[in-house]
Amino acid sequence: MLFAAGMGVGLLFWGVAEPLMHFSGAPGNQPGTPEAARHAMTVTLFHWSLHAWAVYCVSGLVLAYFGFRKGTPYLPGAPLRSALSGVWVKPTAWLADLLAVIAVALGVAGSIGLGVFQLQSGLHVLAGTDSQSTTLTVTILAVLMVCYMAPLMTDLDKGVKWLSNGNMIVAILVLLFVLFAGPTAFLLRTAVTAFGDYLTGVVALSFQLYPFADVGQWLENWTLTYWFWWIAWAPFVGVFIARISRGRTIREFVIGVMVVPSLFSVLWFSVFGGTGFYEELHGQGGMVKLVREDVSTALFALFDRLPFSDLLNGTALVLSFIFLVTSVVSAAFVLGMFTSQGSLNPSVGQKLAWGAVLGGLGTALTLSGNVEAIRTVAFIGAIPFTLIILLQVASFLRALLAEPDTQEKP
């Protein structure tokens, strides 16, 4: 559930593509060399492991702590109201709620775009439809909207949860299949190496701002974009994490939300990225070229080279679609919550309205054809919310410090 909500369709989209992209373009290494491959895995994990889950973790932890300990509603502004005092707190908390809504709406709309592209590529691969057709894009968007509007209308909360967990299980089965049908030994070696490289490199990479190399643009376009995406999704994923962690200690919470999913990310990218590398370096080749031309075909191109490729491609399509539907349903639910004073049962009308807004935004982003606009829009939501997260952390620490001493001092 956590994974489906937090990363979902992105895993399918970037699992193969991102390591291969960095292989031929990330700064710091001669593209195409073995060192570049190692570095590519490290950079990919840097984007998808601890840092992503740390953002979610903070967001979820703050909401959970204040929700369970202080009984405040699940609103991003609630911790501020509860722990801070001053004239500025009320408007800031109100702003926090508003910014969270904007960040989630814009962030999820971006993911809709991503998912629609992947679906279109998949249909092109499987059924030979036109990969560039605008009509098809609109059709996919329309089908998608019908599919997520239905669960929003009826109270199918349980069904959606079941669907997203089932989807995750299928994704894990696909992962295992690729692991064992692909070059298993190579993939396991990749996983171990990538894990080690990541552990040793994560600190350096976290502080790397490239002052001595002219790659500021790359950093902004890749790393920062990811950070802002995670931040944009944080209020929404945070609510979901918070809801399922009643009764956990903070330590358990951090391990459960940061460490376990990060390890899964390592495995996922090692298997999919690793198979891509294997094909590029030891197999038929041509993967990097394909990815550079059209990112959305990467996964399908890889599946083509494995046994049962049609089944795999079909499964990938279904997975993408369901990830997308569950994300939008959950997002509409959370947005409904945010806009009804944190009520755990937002009205159907509210959820439908948010569903329509998300659909509209997604359609606009998909059809606009302006990358700068998409990035700007995503940043508009996320940058101010970054400040809010810092304030949330401050509130949280203040509240912790104010707790009666129950633990022994070191």
């Binding site: 373009g25 592209f117 376009n221 890749w222 998909t366 304030l391 203040r398 410090l401």
Partner: protein, 611 residues
């Protein structure tokens, strides 16, 4: 019941363990056409029988034949003429009908099945305008060339003693000027012909490269060329033991016409479709199989060339597709007709567009081309379309070229737009809008007085029209200044058209390949995850642009007024470290603000709540 089940399992196991029994081997010689046909045969067998097909690559057609005799392969596709040549039959190849070949080979254990429906005979071709100028109609006319004839052909044709070039030269008594130019690729052979490296080219009637190019074939008046009817060949033993195969292949009888075969060759030779793909597409279109064969889905990136007025590209269509494929050999190249080629490139629906230089300058009312579209870049020049101003000879006027009713290209077309720009400079307007051929007709019938036609210099249509002697080509009057930056003055050299002895001054427009400019934004490689959402087409690199220009064989660079790949490096190096004082100040203020914010947040935590 149990025994039955056991038997079934046993039978399955047995059959699984003996794969050779169920395998048919099909030979593929290394020629495009035979490879396509071999795949047609194999896919048809797999779809209609239980046999698995093994493809065996042969060194050449003769090798295939000997392997067939040695039972290493079971089926191949062969031409009647070639088979007669291999057999060194006393029948001359030109009588080589399928019936004769069948009779000749039957006693040796070979069985020729029904004809596929086309004859892939050899042709001798010359550029159509040259045929007219030199009065060439038949192969025998080549004897009129004083220094002998320069021929380009394939090396296999050069080495066939009986029905190949040596035989041909003997038969017609032709003299060669220099060694024949041996080029394997039929398209490149035609390019060499077009570039004047040879006087005639020998091609096969079904070559894909011939499809869109206007060439005149020389008549074989003395009946040298044989017949090359294609058919499936197998052994009599195979026919007897596997009648299902013969039955399945029987469906191909007369199904592949000359036209179909040429299209299949075009797909493979020009567009870069894999032979098995082309074969599969044909079989599905002909409703001979229903399913797409899934065995060969090696994904290849697509390279889409957008065209919005296919007419204007005309014969350059084939050249455009082919040169792009030469530069991007691992791509599938597709030519797509779109509403607006420029927008298709900008929106990432196509990687390249074939457009006129005017498209870089959107012409808005009242504006004189002040704005330039920098979202696209000129990559390489395909050619220049010259403005031809035609009048009837009896109504020719040097001073007032534009007197009377004026006809231009179809309303809304780019040609009409360009012609209007020229006419605006002469303070007049077009009256009639029609297609080129209709315009010429109307001009001859005195329904209009002037026709403005854009086309390549020396193109066949105008050549034909001017050869009749009633029309004349006029220059643009000196006092007409066309101030459009994309219509520079050019000269049509004297003698380009029949009856035109003096050079004619006019204007011309470059037809270029355009690709997305890096100004649209970086591709996903440097553009990050958000860029992957929309931009699917990275701009061409300078090396790729260079390679394209070389493949076209046109040394002409894009007009410097166009934004082009070549300008890019200069502009970028200047822009890299740019940053205005205002921006720097804003950056500093923002950074300072964030530091203050962080300190404040820290203070919030440290200051214990006072109660």
């Amino acid at each position: 019941m149990k025994t039955h089940a056991f038997l079934v399992v046993f039978c399955v196991l047995i059959s699984a363990c003996q794969p050779t029994q169920n395998t048919v081997s099909v030979g593929i010689p290394p020629s495009t056409e035979q490879a396509i046909l071999a795949h047609v045969v194999s896919q048809l067998i797999e779809a209609n029988t239980d046999f698995r097909v093994r493809m065996v690559e042969c060194r050449d057609a003769y090798d295939c034949g000997s392997r067939l005799a040695a039972e290493q392969i079971d089926v191949m596709v062969e031409y009647s003429g070639s088979a007669l040549m291999f057999a060194h039959s006393r029948h001359s190849v030109r009588e080589g009908t399928l019936e004769q070949v069948r009779k000749l080979y039957e006693p040796h254990g070979f069985r020729w099945l029904d004809r596929l429906g086309f004859d892939s005979g050899y042709l001798m071709v010359v550029p159509s305008d040259q045929a007219r100028t030199l009065g060439l109609q038949s192969i025998a006319d080549l004897n009129s060339l004083e220094d002998g004839v320069r021929i380009t052909t394939s090396s296999s044709y050069w080495h066939r003693p009986v029905d190949g070039l040596p035989g041909l030269l003997r038969h017609y008594g032709l003299r060669l000027r220099g060694k024949p130019l041996l080029i394997e690729d039929p398209f490149k052979r035609l390019v060499a012909l077009h570039q004047g490296l040879a006087d005639v080219a020998i091609v096969r009637a079904t070559d894909g490269a011939l499809r869109d190019v206007p060439y005149a074939r020389l008549d074989d008046t003395e009946k040298f060329y044989g017949r090359y009817e294609a058919a499936v060949v197998t052994r009599t033993s195979v026919v007897n033991s596997h009648p299902q195969i013969v039955e399945a292949l029987g469906q191909l009888k007369d199904r592949i016409t000359q036209h179909i075969m040429q299209n299949l060759n075009y797909q493979v030779e020009i567009e870069g479709v894999l032979p098995e793909m082309a074969a599969n597409r044909f079989l599905r279109e002909a409703k001979l199989i229903t399913e797409e064969q899934l065995a060969f889905k090696t994904r290849r990136p697509e390279m889409i060339i957008a065209v919005d007025e296919p007419e204007r590209v005309g014969p350059m269509r084939t050249v455009a597709v082919r040169v792009v494929r030469e530069v991007f050999p691992d791509h599938r190249v597709l030519l797509r007709t779109t509403e607006n080629a420029v927008e298709a490139v900008v929106q990432g629906r196509a990687r390249l567009a074939v457009i006129g230089a005017d498209r870089f300058f959107p012409d808005k009312e009242g504006q004189r081309f002040e704005t330039r579209d920098n979202r696209i870049e000129a990559v390489a020049v395909l050619g220049t379309a010259y403005l031809h101003i035609l009048r009837r000879k009896d109504a020719a006027s040097l001073k007032n070229v534009f007197d009377g009713t004026i006809g231009v290209g179809l309303r809304g077309s780019e040609r009409a737009h360009l012609a209007s720009i020229v006419l605006r400079a002469a303070n007049t307007k077009p009256t009639i809008f029609a297609e080129t051929k209709a315009l010429l007709q109307q001009l001859e019938n005195a329904e209009i007085d002037v026709a403005l036609i854009f086309g390549l210099s020396g193109n066949a249509v105008l050549h034909e029209a001017l050869a009749k002697g009633t029309l004349t080509l006029q220059g643009l009057p000196d006092d007409v200044e066309v101030l459009a930056p994309f219509l520079p003055p050019v000269r049509i050299p004297g003698g380009t058209y029949p009856g035109q002895s003096d050079p004619v001054e006019t204007v011309g427009i470059q037809i270029v390949f355009a690709s997305p400019s890096p100004n649209i934004g970086p591709g996903p490689l440097g553009g990050g995850p958000a860029a992957a959402l929309l931009t699917q087409n990275p701009p061409l690199t300078v090396e790729q642009a260079n390679a394209l220009a070389q493949a076209i064989g046109n040394p002409e660079p894009p007009d410097p007024i166009l934004p082009s790949v070549w300008m890019r490096s200069v502009v970028q190096s200047h822009a890299a470290h740019e940053g205005t004082t205002g921006q720097n100040l804003l950056d500093t203020v923002l950074n300072a603000g964030i530091i203050v914010f962080l300190v404040w947040v820290g203070m919030l935590v440290i200051r214990r709540p006072t109660k």
